[in-house]
């Protein structure tokens, strides 16, 4: 990652800025705040994710489709939707706190951020844990039951130990994302400053690129450690419980108490999330949120006027980077998994690392690298597209990986055996079979690019603006109506894209099968 290196460049010459960092209490505090937030949010998000995943895979609660829909919505949504709507719902003039209960509530601060991050990132944990729980053969639970274990014991002695590696993996993923998140802290953290927002202040407020680079480096260290831990340690410990023929037994019936407790829990969480989206939809059509709830299309008009060029940009950039990520990702995965090439390991690392680099670090890295010759890209659309590709290559890679792992090696060997060379095998067998992986890679990266904020916020210019940073800016200045309206439009586009793709691709491309 030359980007990471370039971040190091300006500060590596002297350690003066590091010394300066240590002498600034505010910055040191924000570092500890970042870590604290990562620890508590990871814990809560992982627990919520686990309970959700358990409820979906191990019980027969009603409304699974609804709960899954909520999770998918959270996964594809703008990363700061919850933060934005929490301020609108539970803020000082929030609809629920002030409007319903008539008392001002202080949402700003660590507690608000904690709740928001939990709701924002539990779907990531859920996604990992669903996979893990699904792979645990229900037969094992029957076996434990048969040997005399009570329900609680089955959970404690069988399900939990087998999912521990998955839980660790999920927790590390959440932690990396919380550490790198920019939007929610910017909206709701208040005085509880974190590194991501401080780095932004250093650049936008003070023009102090070097200090921003120092902050990035300081935060990058724990993130990188988590990444390595996740990739090389935890992922190796995942138990493979698939032995012989898979059990045809269905899931075991859970006790009614457990079932309905889990159902209530999922319902509460999902309701809160649905409320957040409802408030965004509503917020776009009321005159002044918190004061005057009369209907207006004023915000929508404003947003259509201001936001359309940005949305056009977003669509073009996302299309370009989505295509690039899908093709590069699949090619990349093909090389990593099929070809014994020199530098395979390195390629594997490069293809997965960007997922761990917090967006704002990558954004700052890009400004620093492309501000100077040989390649000056600052203030061009190319820097945004390039940045999107770098950020979402892991998404394409993962789709490619999933596709390739489904194709038995012997199918390609059969092609070679029948006389096809490497290229002909690629063209006749591998590529046709990887079509759905390409499609999935494209759609996932496209959606991610549409909603990304933390990296591009450093790269946009008035000419090449994007909707998500605009929303953040509007919200930051208290234009809730406009922010909500633009969010609603953007989300409609993203959800619409997904629904259309799902309808077209049908079962051929499994999109968000959670």
């Amino acid at each position: 990652m030359m980007v990471a290196a370039s971040v190091e460049g300006p500060s590596g010459i002297s350690f003066a800025y590091y010394v300066d960092f240590l002498s600034r209490k505010l910055l040191v505090n924000s570092f500890w705040n970042s870590l604290t937030m990562a620890v508590i949010s990871t814990a809560s998000a992982t627990v919520v994710g686990f309970l959700f995943a358990y409820a979906m895979t191990r019980t027969d609660i009603p409304g699974k489709r609804f709960f899954k829909g909520v999770v998918i919505l959270q996964l594809i949504s703008l990363p700061f939707t919850v933060g934005l709507s929490f301020v609108m719902l539970f803020g000082r003039r929030g609809l629920i706190t002030y409007g319903l209960f008539g008392r001002p509530f202080e949402i700003y601060g660590w507690h608000g951020l904690w709740m928001v991050q939990t709701l924002t990132f539990f779907p990531l944990a859920y996604l990992v844990l669903v996979g893990v729980l699904k792979s645990i053969d229900p037969g094992l639970e029957y076996a434990a039951r048969n040997l005399g274990a009570r329900d609680a014991h089955v959970f404690r002695d069988v399900v939990l130990p087998l999912s521990i590696p998955g839980v660790a993996s999920a927790a590390l993923l959440v932690a990396m994302n919380v550490l790198g998140d920019f939007g929610n802290p910017a909206l709701i953290a208040g005085d509880f400053t974190v590194i991501a927002t401080e780095a932004y202040m250093q650049i936008v407020g003070w023009g102090n690129f070097r200090m921003a680079a120092v902050l990035c480096n300081i935060l990058f260290l724990p993130v990188f450690i988590l990444f390595i831990a996740q990739k090389y340690w935890v992922s190796r410990k995942v138990y493979v419980t698939v032995t012989g023929a898979p059990t045809q037994l269905g899931i075991r019936k859970t006790s009614r108490l457990v079932k309905w407790s889990l159902f209530s829990f999922c319902l509460i969480i999902s309701t809160v999330i649905v409320l957040t989206y409802a408030s965004l939809g509503l917020g776009g059509f009321v005159r002044t949120w918190g004061v005057d709830y009369s209907f207006t299309t004023l915000h929508l008009d404003y947003v259509l006027f201001q936001g359309i060029p940005a949305i056009e940009n977003a669509l073009i950039f996302s299309l370009a980077s989505g295509l690039a990520c899908a093709i590069l990702g699949v090619l990349d995965a093909y090389i990593v998994f099929r070809k014994k090439m020199l530098g395979r390991q390195l390629l594997d690392l490069i293809s997965t690392l960007p997922a761990a680099v917090p967006g704002f670090i990558l954004g700052i890295g890009y400004i620093l690298s492309f501000n100077t010759p040989p390649l000056i890209l600052t203030a061009t659309p190319y820097i945004i597209i390039l940045n999107n590709i770098a950020r979402d290559l892991p998404t394409g890679f993962q789709a490619g990986m999933a596709g390739i792992q489904q194709i038995d090696v012997s199918i390609e060997e059969a092609s070679v055996n029948l006389g096809a060379g490497t290229f002909q095998t690629l063209r006749n067998v591998a590529i046709p079979l990887l079509k759905s992986a390409l499609g999935a890679g494209f759609i996932y990266s496209f959606i991610k690019c549409m909603t990304t904020v933390s990296a591009v916020i450093f790269l946009i210019t008035p000419k090449w603006n994007l909707p998500s940073p605009i929303i953040l800016g509007l919200a930051g200045e208290g234009y809730w109506g406009q922010a909500a309206a633009l969010s609603a439009i953007l989300l409609t586009i993203v959800v619409g894209t997904l629904l259309v793709c799902r309808a077209i691709a049908g079962r051929r491309i499994p999109l968000f099968e959670v």
């Binding site: 012997s410 092609s415 070679v416 055996n417 029948l418 006389g419 060379g421 006749n428």
Partner: protein, 358 residues
């Protein structure tokens, strides 16, 4: 007879494990040769090396007299049937079978004719427009065989192609495979760990263990005249008896067997024995005769006691203790089970001395 495939000191290592250890043997043209051994013995590695999927670390592979050791797999013209069939899931049966012809510049009309011909031979003409996922296991297997045959390979390589089929289908399909191979007069190398299958289809069996070739022979040689303890043990059920050579004549060997030093005669083996030498004697259970009366033959019988019996359908298996020896005897369709005291007798031509232990 001409040799279709020859291996010369072929060796393949994976890290520190030697999967195939200096294998040297020849596969006769138009023969059905079986590579037999337990899992992990290197038989599949050897087959895949012949196909060219592995590069040998040492030695050579010759196909029809031509050294192909360094020829890439797609230029070897070997037709392989994979264990999981490896049909192209995105192509119809017809295109699956025709695939290999694409790289052999055969005109379209001719290619279609060849596909139909081979499909007819395997009885799958009616499946040509289907996708692999719409076929049963047995049908998929036929398609895989057709796809390998249509290219008229120098050698047909079969990598446990029957292991995913039901027991009954397997028996039928293996007979068909053998017949097709015979009718077409092609050379086939078949990998299996199923000794019964090997005996049933093989013209020649190559028994492998721990990467090494232990014995090569016809099914009857492998079955009745195992060269090593491993081969004897691996194939079927066998009685192995420790014995000492008491006396050798031109035609026969007199052996003192077991703790009670029972004397048994045995037809002289090819190896030279000396008096007092320790050897291992083998005899198949079906060659151990049991009777209530004293047998007519002179010598080679002893009195014993039945310890246990298992009814196995066509035969009944007796566990007999005789002269300090534990013997297994299979008797065909015995309506009246023999009990307690019996006479055990063995034909001297059926007793075999394992050369390895000699």
């Amino acid at each position: 007879m001409k040799e279709a495939v020859s291996l010369n000191e072929a060796t393949k290592k994976f890290g520190s494990v030697t999967a195939v250890d200096h294998a040297t043997f020849a596969v006769e043209d138009k023969s059905f040769t079986v590579l037999l051994g337990p899992s992990g013995c290197g038989k599949t590695t050897l087959l895949r090396s012949i196909a060219g999927f592995y590069d040998l670390d040492e030695g050579q592979i010759l196909i029809k007299g031509k050294d192909v050791t360094n020829v890439p797999p797609h230029k070897r013209n070997t037709g392989m049937v994979f264990q999981n069939y490896a049909l192209f899931p995105h192509m119809k049966v017809f295109d699956n079978i025709a695939y290999g012809l694409k790289f052999r510049q055969s005109p379209k009309a001719e290619a279609e004719q060849r596909v139909r011909k081979v499909a007819g031979m395997l009885g799958i003409e009616h499946l040509l427009t289907r996708f692999p996922a719409q076929l049963s296991g047995g049908e998929q297997q036929r398609v895989a065989v057709a796809r390998a045959l249509v290219i008229e390979p120098e050698v047909l390589l079969l990598d446990e192609p029957l292991s995913n089929l039901d027991a009954k289908v397997r028996v039928r399909v293996r007979a068909e495979l053998k017949k097709i191979q015979c009718d077409l007069g092609i050379t086939a190398i078949h990998v299996t760990h199923d000794q019964e299958e090997a005996l049933a289809v093989g013209d020649k069996i190559v028994v492998m263990n721990k990467g090494k070739v232990t014995q090569i022979g016809t099914p009857t040689e492998i079955y009745f005249k195992p060269q090593t303890r491993f081969v004897a043990d691996f194939i079927g059920t066998i009685n192995l008896l420790k014995a000492t050579v008491a006396k050798t004549t031109a035609k026969e060997v007199l052996l003192s067997v077991g703790p009670d030093k029972v004397l048994l005669t045995c037809v002289s083996p090819e190896v030279v024995l000396r008096d007092g030498q320790e050897v291992i004697l083998s005899i198949r259970p079906e060659n151990v005769e049991l009777g209530g009366e004293k047998p007519a033959r002179e010598g080679n019988f002893l009195r014993g006691e039945v310890k246990d019996t298992i009814f196995m359908g066509a035969i009944t298996r007796y566990f007999v203790q005789a002269g300090g020896l534990e013997l297994i005897a299979d008797v065909q369709g015995s309506d009246v089970p023999l009990k307690d005291s019996v006479y055990v007798s063995m034909d001297s031509s059926k007793l075999h001395i394992l050369p390895e232990a000699s």
